[in-house]
């Protein structure tokens, strides 16, 4: 059975159509395996070879991969949620009620989006602290660490802008508290808050701005920086896998 399946798969791989898409045969040689990575626009962000050590679970706990997967899950569930959502007062809140009582699996969809968002914040923090304790910021990885910090800020801001969208009491007051902190900044604080909210209070304009930030601007920025982050892992020579203390005595 398994052999038959494999045979069938190999026959499909040998067809002209398959070859026209993937531009290579079965990955039996290292050359074909290399082609599989750098001949693919998505995989080519990754290095062709990886250190055996860096594949061990304890080296990374796959926290970067997990953060990325959560971003993908959030994009997919987020797009589906957009189909049922209007960024208007008070229609936004009614849409939440519709998701709960009218839309098929609407509750599940929203649960998944919110859960993935919470876990992503945790995963990104954990990823950063893990990289720190493993000494992953050391040269030549300095700049990728900086990109990582930018990605952490984008993640937090993504989560924060999403917080307002249900337009319930929780959302409204959390954003009010948060943006009041911003106003404490000397000179620019009040102006920045006005820019963010489109007014002096959290209202319709704020909802629209947070919606655009949450659904368009920040996801695009995140995707851009994630791509650079992956690319730089490869360009900086792969993951650093040494224990921090192993490095100490060598210099």
């Amino acid at each position: 059975m398994a052999a038959n399946t494999l045979d069938a798969l190999n026959r499909i791989r040998a067809t002209r159509v398959w070859q026209s898409i993937f531009r290579r045969g079965p990955a039996r040689t290292n050359r074909a395996r290399s082609l599989a990575v750098f001949g693919n626009i998505f995989f080519h962000l990754l290095p062709v070879k990886v250190r055996e050590k860096s594949l061990r679970v304890r080296a990374t706990y796959y926290l970067g991969s997990i953060s990325f997967l959560l971003f993908v899950v959030l994009t997919i569930t987020g797009i589906l949620l957009m189909l049922y959502y209007h960024p208007a007062v008070p229609q936004a809140y009614r849409d939440m009620k519709d998701l709960r009582f009218v839309v098929s699996n609407g509750v599940f969809l929203r649960n998944l989006h919110r859960l993935a968002a919470q876990v992503m914040v945790l995963a990104v923090f954990w990823h950063m602290f893990h990289v720190f304790y493993r000494g992953g910021y050391r040269p030549p990885h300095e700049f990728n660490w900086v990109i990582g910090v930018v990605l952490l800020l984008i993640t937090l801001f993504l989560s924060y802008t999403g917080y307002l969208l249900p337009w319930d009491q929780l959302a409204f007051w959390a954003i009010t508290v948060g943006t009041n902190i911003l106003a404490a900044m000397p000179f620019l604080g009040g102006k920045l808050r006005y820019l963010l909210l489109g007014g002096n209070l959290v209202g319709e304009n704020a909802l629209l701005r947070f919606y655009v930030l949450h659904c368009v601007i920040l996801p695009l920025l995140a995707a851009l920086f994630i791509a650079v982050h992956f690319w730089r892992v490869q360009k900086d020579g792969g993951l650093t896998v040494e224990e921090a203390e192993e490095k100490t005595g060598e210099e």
Partner: protein, 250 residues
């Protein structure tokens, strides 16, 4: 390849697995980046080794998300009403550490200066030679460092006590005690960086504490404080930001 530099400017080598993979010729100049010079260890092809593992991780995570998502409902309260302020009005959990700080310090300090310092501090980590070298804290001029440590700690404790920031002060003191004890960790002057090959497994016991660099201590202190502040802000704060016990009905 390992003896590059001792010979001429250029060095040529061939891949050892020449039969399996295409032959490679490597030129190593003095400006070659560390990634080529460094010991790479055994390498595996990304496809299929990494791709397969990531696929498995993705599958496990997706199943976990779906299972939890089926049973844990996202909260939804009443329609937003600017006239009814909940008490306390709380920010999302990841900002509750900040909100807890706001309880102690003026908004400019807690809301702007401290977060800015944290972000700037995170960004500059890899650009400090001290961090990159990872030298144990209690090595070199130990007595001088101990004095400096005590002075910094003293100032910090006094400032935190003046502002009555107990939830910051407590983890600070705990970490400070650990730092202080690590000064006396075993084998007296053994804190010097030892020459020769180091043990490959991470050290445990007193050797572990003795070998911690300053960056490790600062980061551990930061994480402890952030964690305590977030937990306190999330579970232990009630009306008027007063202290409540989450297990008591309230």
């Amino acid at each position: 390849m390992s003896e590059s530099g001792s010979k001429g400017r250029y060095e040529a080598g061939f891949g050892s697995d020449a039969l399996k993979s295409p032959q490679r010729i490597v030129f190593i100049t003095k400006k070659t980046s560390a990634k080529v010079k460094g010991d790479v260890g055994r390498q595996l092809m990304t496809y299929p080794h990494l791709i397969l593992r990531e696929t498995i991780v993705f599958q496990i995570l997706t199943v976990a998300l779906v299972v939890v998502g089926l049973f844990w409902d996202a909260p939804l309260e009443q329609l937003a009403n600017p006239l009814v302020t909940p008490n306390p009005a709380k920010a999302p959990w990841y900002f509750l550490g900040l909100q807890e700080l706001l309880h102690y310090f003026p908004p400019l300090v807690a809301g702007i200066i401290i977060p800015t310092l944290v972000v700037v501090g995170l960004i500059v980590i890899p650009y400090f030679h001290v961090n990159v070298r990872g030298e144990p804290l209690w090595s070199g001029r130990r007595a001088q460092r101990l004095l400096l440590f005590l002075v910094v700690l003293g100032v910090l404790v006094v400032v935190l006590a003046i502002f009555e920031a107990w939830t910051v002060l407590t983890p600070t003191i705990v970490i400070a005690i650990l730092m202080f004890l690590s000064y006396f960790a075993k084998s007296g002057r053994g804190a010097e960086v030892r020459p020769g090959p180091r043990p490959t497994s991470p050290q445990r016991g007193s050797g572990f504490w003795r070998s911690r660099p300053i960056s490790w201590w600062v980061m551990t202190w930061f994480i402890s404080v952030a964690l305590i502040l977030t937990v306190v802000g999330t579970f232990f704060r009630g009306p008027g930001w007063s202290w409540v016990w989450p297990w008591r009905n309230g």
